[in-house]
């Protein structure tokens, strides 16, 4: 398998060095480990819980964006990182889960009355929870067995939910801040362009017949 992928890469003109997928997880978890270490040793500033909560959420959004860049990189720049997409996608889920856990346990102290009030009354919490729920089936089916069982097409259709997760995450970030500071707007712009690219591409493909057919 690995040989095949690298041969394909070479054909496309980009012989990217291959790293084992486990390396993606190891590198991907560095921010989380570092954050927890700094948190426990009280080095996250004056409001460490809030810092941890926000940083984990931000990393989830970053990994989500990274997941969404795999396809355009291949289509536009012939850079094939497909074999890492599952790992990056799952990292998105793990960080979202840690972000949610921080909110539930450290922020709200498992006060379920307050948490439920937040979910039904605060649109940004509602959006955040919904976004997490969207990620669950994607994470659960991110394995070869699920692809086989669902069939490639159904699996791909299911995983288009990631677009809703991306919109949800970007909106959640925009809604949690006061006024309109630059950072969440930049992330929203990145998500918008990644989704906009897909929309435009699929529209073009509908209008212009595929070259192969011609």
């Amino acid at each position: 398998m690995a040989g095949q992928a690298s041969a394909q890469g070479a054909k496309r003109g980009f012989a990217l060095p291959q790293v084992p997928k486990i390396a993606i997880y190891i590198v991907g978890f560095i921010p989380a480990v570092l954050l927890f270490y700094l948190g426990v040793t009280n080095q996250l500033g004056a409001d460490p819980m809030r810092y941890l909560e926000q940083a984990l959420g931000l990393w989830a959004l970053r990994f989500l964006i990274a997941t969404l860049t795999i396809s355009p990189l291949r289509q536009i720049f012939n850079i094939n990182l497909l074999r890492y997409r599952r790992a990056i996608g799952l990292l998105t889920f793990y960080y979202a889960a840690l972000h949610l856990l921080t909110y539930l346990v450290l922020d709200q102290g498992l006060d379920f009355e307050a948490i439920w009030a937040d979910i039904v009354k605060r649109p940004y919490i509602t959006v955040g929870m919904a976004t997490f729920l969207v990620l669950v089936p994607l994470a659960v089916t991110s394995n070869n067995v699920s692809i086989r069982r669902l069939g490639g097409q159904a699996w791909a259709r299911l995983h288009r939910l990631v677009y809703f997760a991306a919109i949800g995450a970007a909106v959640h970030f925009l809604m949690v801040v006061k006024s309109w500071p630059p950072e969440p707007m930049v992330y929203a712009a990145i998500v918008t362009s990644l989704l906009g690219y897909r929309l435009v591409r699929s529209l073009i493909r509908k209008i212009v017949p595929k070259r192969r057919a011609a």
Binding site: G45, A46, G109, D111, A114, A117, M175, S179, P181, P182
Partner: protein, 271 residues
């Protein structure tokens, strides 16, 4: 920061543990220097706070312009240990040094028609990076306001220092407002102008999001911010990562002293 001598005050909260100087000076909002909580400490050094004058004008018998050092010299400075509740849901206990705003108000002799006091922060884009932004977070300069009776209340002070020294730039040097029963954003920093007016003045956060930030902005656990609850707060420096939320008190615990200012008012409507 230069040392200031200040008398203790019976209006101080004495049963509360002070938030550390490090946290008070390195975790706060001052959007003129950036939106991160650490931005004020990192960037506020560019503001030149001396010389500094405060213009007092509007509906007063004796409008004046005060040099800050004269205000400090001619006022009986007091230490006021106050709880500070941010509208975002965190709180501190800060030993301010200042004098009652009422002292200044009496000096300029407001006219009968003066019903409100309007405050303005300095507008100096070259010294305040947040004011240079192409997409400003707020309309500059920052403006705030109080009803005259709120301004006259003995708890309302103009602070010129904290922890026994003059204010660090990031905390609003050289002179700022502190109104302990209101959310922190009412405490306008680096004041250059105080005007006495007849009509309720515009306030920055109310202009930015009127449904979220009212003119009064009294701390009130029963009136939630539309996007988050105000029932509880996190006391900065308490518990680290495992901080426990504590209940937020009506008027930030100053109800006994100030609730009568609002008797008969619907505080859900006038939030």
């Amino acid at each position: 920061a230069a040392p200031l001598s200040a008398a203790k005050s019976p209006l101080s909260a004495t049963d509360e543990k002070l938030t550390s100087l490090e946290d008070v000076t390195h975790y706060n909002n001052y959007y003129e220097f950036g939106v991160d909580k650490t931005a004020p400490a990192a960037h506020a050094h560019t503001l030149k706070t001396s010389p500094w004058t405060v213009k007092v004008d509007g509906l007063v018998a004796k409008p004046a312009e005060y040099a800050v050092e004269d205000l400090i010299k001619n006022s009986a400075l007091e230490e006021r240990i106050y709880r500070m509740r941010c509208v975002e849901g965190w709180s501190m206990v800060i030993p301010w040094v200042g004098f009652p705003l009422a002292d200044l108000i009496k000096r300029v002799e407001p006219q009968g028609s003066a019903k409100y006091v309007a405050f303005e922060t300095v507008y100096r884009p070259p010294e305040m990076p947040g004011q240079q932004s192409a997409f400003p977070v707020l309309e500059w300069p920052y403006v705030e306001g109080l009803r005259l009776d709120e301004a006259m209340h003995p708890l309302t002070i103009l602070a010129v220092g904290l922890y026994g020294e003059t204010l660090p730039n990031q905390n609003g040097a050289p002179i700022r407002l502190v109104v302990p029963w209101k959310y922190g954003f009412k405490g306008i920093k680096s004041i250059t102008r105080i005007s006495f007016v007849e009509k309720q003045p515009a306030t920055s956060w109310n202009l930015q999001a009127p449904d979220e930030y009212g003119f009064y902005a009294n701390v009130n656990p029963d009136v939630d911010h539309p996007r988050w609850s105000q029932k509880t707060e996190r006391r900065i420096g308490e518990g680290g990562l495992f901080v426990k939320r504590r209940p937020t008190l009506p008027f930030n615990g100053y109800g006994e002293q100030v609730a009568q200012l609002y008797s008969g008012m619907d505080l859900r409507k006038f939030y």
